[in-house]
């Protein structure tokens, strides 16, 4: 989840998110360099005593400030396109989970082997135990096995919602009557939070998504336990 006063992206929990993080660092570094250069030029122009009123043009500097920005743009575009295509690749998922958006909770269905389905409501603030996160915790988490490619089919039962988990680099709109597919592989165990990302009514801010990544044996124990409970 995000820390208080956090400025940057959350730590990555999947290889795709790592790539996005590194690309963000790369693009931001270029932005900082250009902004520093422009700021320096502004200060230099404003404070200089040299003024030549008779310069009309210069071919050399025009060539430089055409080629250099073009090269910078290419250096940004190539990694960006690579990540764009990388994000679309779905490598043989081991499990498919359906995430359905409702007003105002998510429901998850694991129907590959048995019929497991449950709702995930936000834990109200007055019911939180010490150490839990306000407006982020849910009563039932979406548990997934570590290191396994997971396919998530996102849809909605009533109005538009959006299933987002920043630590995994995922955001997928939940549209009624439409199946949207996204996939991820997790690289570390942990609990990752997200919030509904499409305005859906009064409690839009109060339907969080919690993904818990556990080793495979724990996932199997959890799913047996959830099936008994149902």
């Amino acid at each position: 989840m995000a820390h208080p006063t956090q400025l940057g992206l959350q730590d990555a929990a999947s290889p795709v998110m790592e790539e996005l993080l590194h690309f963000h660092d790369h693009a931001l570094m270029i932005v900082f360099l250009i902004s520093t250069l422009v700021l320096y030029i502004i200060v230099a122009m404003v404070s200089t005593k040299l003024t030549n009123k008779y310069i009309l043009d210069s071919q050399e500097i025009e060539i430089i400030w055409t080629i250099l920005p073009a090269v910078v743009l290419i250096l940004i575009a190539l990694p960006s396109l690579r990540i764009l295509y990388l994000m679309d690749e779905i490598n043989d998922p081991h499990i498919t989970i359906k995430a359905m958006g409702h007003q105002w909770y998510w429901s998850y269905e694991y129907t590959d082997y048995e019929d497991l389905g449950f709702d995930s409501y936000m834990i109200p603030t007055q019911d939180l135990t010490p150490g839990q996160f306000r407006l982020l915790e849910a009563d039932h988490r979406m548990v997934v096995p570590l290191d396994s490619p997971v396919r998530v089919l996102v849809s909605a039962e009533d109005v538009l919602h959006s299933w987002a988990v920043p630590a995994l680099g995922i955001k997928m709109d939940a549209v009624p009557g439409r199946l949207n597919q996204t996939a991820f592989v997790t690289s570390r165990p942990g609990v990752f939070y997200g919030q509904c990302s499409e305005i859906c009514g009064a409690n839009h801010s109060f339907m969080p998504i919690v993904v818990e990544v556990v080793p495979l044996e724990h996932f199997e124990n959890w799913s047996s336990f959830m099936l008994q409970d149902a």
Binding site: Q59, I63, T66, I67, A70, L81, Y85, L86, E89, N91
Partner: protein, 82 residues
């Protein structure tokens, strides 16, 4: 018109990189648009002979422009045959 441009280029050679990058960018976008129009299975040109090309997708076909990690020749079909 080309003669005029050539004359102007001789006195302003700084315009050459401009032509190169803008022309290259325009050419690349047009080529990608043409690729999408001709190769994308979501596009139907011939309603009589090939009415719904999006229903004829094979598991080994690569429709996207660039495959980073996925080897399309190794993929198998998971769904049932209709």
């Amino acid at each position: 018109m080309l003669a005029t441009v050539r004359k102007q280029l001789r006195s302003h050679p700084a315009l050459i990189p401009l032509f190169f990058f803008i022309g290259g960018g325009a050419a690349m976008s047009m080529m990608y648009l043409a690729r999408l129009a001709l190769r994308n299975p979501d596009v139907c040109w011939d309603r009589k002979n090939n009415p719904e090309p999006w229903n004829k997708l094979g598991p080994n076909d690569q429709y996207k422009f660039y495959a980073v990690n996925l080897d399309y020749s190794k993929l198998k079909k998971h769904g049932p045959d209709f």
